[in-house]
Amino acid sequence: MTVKGEGANEMHMLEVKDLHVEVDGRKILNGLELSVGRGSVHAIMGPNGSGKSTLAHVLAGKPGYEVTQGEVLLDGDDVLGLAPDERAAKGLFLAFQYPLEIPGVATMTFLRTAINAQRKKREQPELSTPEFLKQVRAVAGKLDIDQEMLRRGVNVGFSGGEKKRNEILQMALLEPRLCVLDETDSGLDIDALKVVAQGVNGLRSPDRSFVVITHYQRLLNYIVPDVVHVLSRGRIVKTGGKELALELEGSGYAQYQEEAA
């Protein structure tokens, strides 16, 4: 599904070219290629240790990963040299597999600081208090997040499902152009999964692309991808339509692990 050639950059929200990444001298990503078109939803599936979370972290700019080769273009601009907050301001959002608890920082303060920091970077005026509250209430309502939760420290005392819903709340308020969902289904029961998936589906738009990273096909019943990739040993080894996910559910990853080796 990678599209090469002149003008292709303009077509793609995200373009990852020949990406090699090491952690503590160990190679994790090994020449990964990925192009995600504007408005499309790509799923990345793969066994444990294939490099799924590393890809998510490297895209968002987490320290501790050494990119030894390759490029990551967001809307045509190389982001590998940018700090995590600069990437966020350019419209990249990572929904964490394990959202962290931040005692002492109220969710509302956190949301407001994040929104205004991004707006400042984009040279937009700060959001007024009433406007901010209005937006938060509207989105929180849809995600079934009550006001009391927003007054608490970020994710403090939240259940697994509440933490993931809080990630989607942040995603909705920050209005990113590229959303990377790292194993958003982990630790969720089916009801929580549906709420989260609905939240994500509500944000799908022609201007917003998604990279959905998951081990299991289950999530993709609710967030239906346009393209499915199989990641194994640090590279994409197969690309197909949504039916590929179903196929994997039946056959497992074993054949791809051999192929990559």
């Binding site: 700090a83 907050d85 959202p99 931040i102 005692p103 303060t109 956190f110 994040a114």
Partner: protein, 445 residues
């Protein structure tokens, strides 16, 4: 071989002796006070300035840190008072009753002494000493033997301070703010001694702040006596203006069924030591003893606490947080003593240091001395840097590095500050934290 070899007198010790000899005739107080001073100075002299081999002063080696002894501060002239007229302004929002001391002297004309509530008396320590007020003089030093060098020096040289009495069942409508300002142009030595007695069932909030521009050496002591069923908050705020060398002693004796909240808020000073001795003298008292300090550059702040449970069924919670940047040095020594008959004591002490640089140093020394068998006591101490994963989480949401750090530091300090019951004061202190962080961000740019 148990002969303790005394090192030669340091320059500061020699100067202190000379200062005492020169000043003893004009320090306030007739014979009984003179005797008290004399005995205190002899006690000090026999051991000299405490140094690193004196366990209680292990991390704050006064012999090394105090190179010289400044001359005693003069009574402030009109110009100095003029400099001090905005003293305590940082807490203006509290609408507290201000009692102002400039360079160690009580200044009634800058204080707010009009329409005192019935049952509240405010006076000057110098005046009480001068007339050898028995109720004051016999009280001084009763709370603790004079073995501590700083307190001994304080007793020998004590000049002025506040004498506050709150009668039983009186609830003060406004906080009482003791404002200490260093304003004289000549770096001097200031010795403050205050006495606050809170009657049975009374309610008071006492704020003590130390500020200024002078490079003074400040030695301040407060004796706080809290009678049964009273509810007292004491908050001490000190910043860089507290003096080039600032040593503070709190001697608190709390009776039965008291609620006592102590808070130390410290924005770094060159060398500052807060020592607290809290004596639980009656059963069923609940106390919270907390503090937060923010240090940078080469500042040194030492908090030394001794909480002595000498009665049954008291609860104490100690929580101290320090933020250390630059080459600063934060010290916490906390000791909980539970006397044999103080059964059912519930005491928990925690101290946490957040290191913002590789060159900052935190020393935490928690100690428990338990002589009763039916108690719950514990302590915890941590020292660490900001959590990298939390920083990444904030930055991944678009919050720049310094702002993300500031949010986490604020949250860290906030956990201690939120224990202050007075919302206005809480907000005011958090504003100081925010300003400190903004200055830090500016320094980094």
């Amino acid at each position: 071989m148990n002969i303790e070899l005394r090192a030669n007198r340091t320059a500061a010790e020699t100067a202190l002796a000379a200062n005492f000899a020169a000043a003893r005739g004009r320090l306030p107080g007739p014979l009984p006070v003179e005797q008290l001073r004399e005995a205190a100075f002899r006690t000090f002299e026999s051991a000299g300035l405490p140094h690193r081999r004196v366990e209680e002063w292990k991390y704050t080696d006064l012999r090394a840190l105090m190179r010289e002894a400044r001359p005693l501060a003069r009574v402030p002239d009109e110009e100095t008072k003029l400099h001090a007229r905005k003293a305590g302004e940082m807490l203006a929002g509290l609408e507290a009753r201000r009692v102002v001391f400039v360079d160690g002297s009580f200044v009634p004309e800058l204080s707010d002494l009009a329409s005192l509530e019935p049952g509240l008396r405010i006076g000057s320590m110098a005046a009480a000493l001068a007339r050898a007020d028995t109720s004051v003089v016999t009280h001084l030093g009763r709370a603790m033997p004079l073995t501590d060098a700083a307190l001994a020096l304080n007793t020998a040289f004590m000049g002025d301070g506040a004498v506050v009495d709150i009668e039983p069942r009186v609830a003060l409508a406004r906080p009482l703010h003791l404002v200490f300002i260093n304003a004289g142009s000549q770096p001097s030595a200031v010795f403050l001694r205050s006495l606050v007695r809170v009657g049975k069932g009374a309610r008071a909030m006492l704020v003590e702040s130390h500020e200024g521009t002078s490079e003074h050496q400040v030695n301040t002591a407060l004796e706080l006596e809290v009678a049964a069923e009273a509810h007292v908050d004491h908050v001490k705020i000190s910043g860089p203006g507290a003096g080039a060398l600032h040593v503070s002693t709190l001697l608190a004796t709390v009776g039965p069924h008291v609620r006592f909240n102590e808070f130390l808020f410290t924005l770094g000073s060159r060398v500052l030591r807060n020592q607290l001795f809290v004596h639980f003298a009656g059963e069923g008292t609940i106390a919270a003893i907390r503090g937060a300090s923010l240090l940078k550059a080469r500042q040194h702040v030492d908090t030394t606490l001794v909480a002595e449970h000498a009665a049954c069924g008291c609860t104490s919670r100690e929580l101290f947080k320090s933020v250390l940047d630059g080459e600063s040095h934060g010290v916490f020594q906390g000791k909980i003593i539970v006397r044999p008959h103080a059964q059912k004591t519930d005491a928990k002490m925690a101290t946490h240091a957040l290191l913002l640089s590789d060159t900052a140093e935190a020393d935490n020394k928690p100690e428990l001395e338990i002589f009763a068998d039916d108690v719950q006591c514990g302590h915890g101490a941590t020292a660490g840097s900001l959590d990298e994963d939390l920083l990444f989480y904030l930055r991944a949401r678009g919050i720049p590095e310094k702002e993300a750090e500031a949010l986490l530091i604020q949250a860290f300090v906030g956990e201690a500050v939120e224990g202050i019951e007075h919302a206005g004061l809480r907000d005011c202190l958090m504003e100081h934290v925010v300003a400190w962080l903004a200055a830090r961000k500016q320094d980094a740019q």
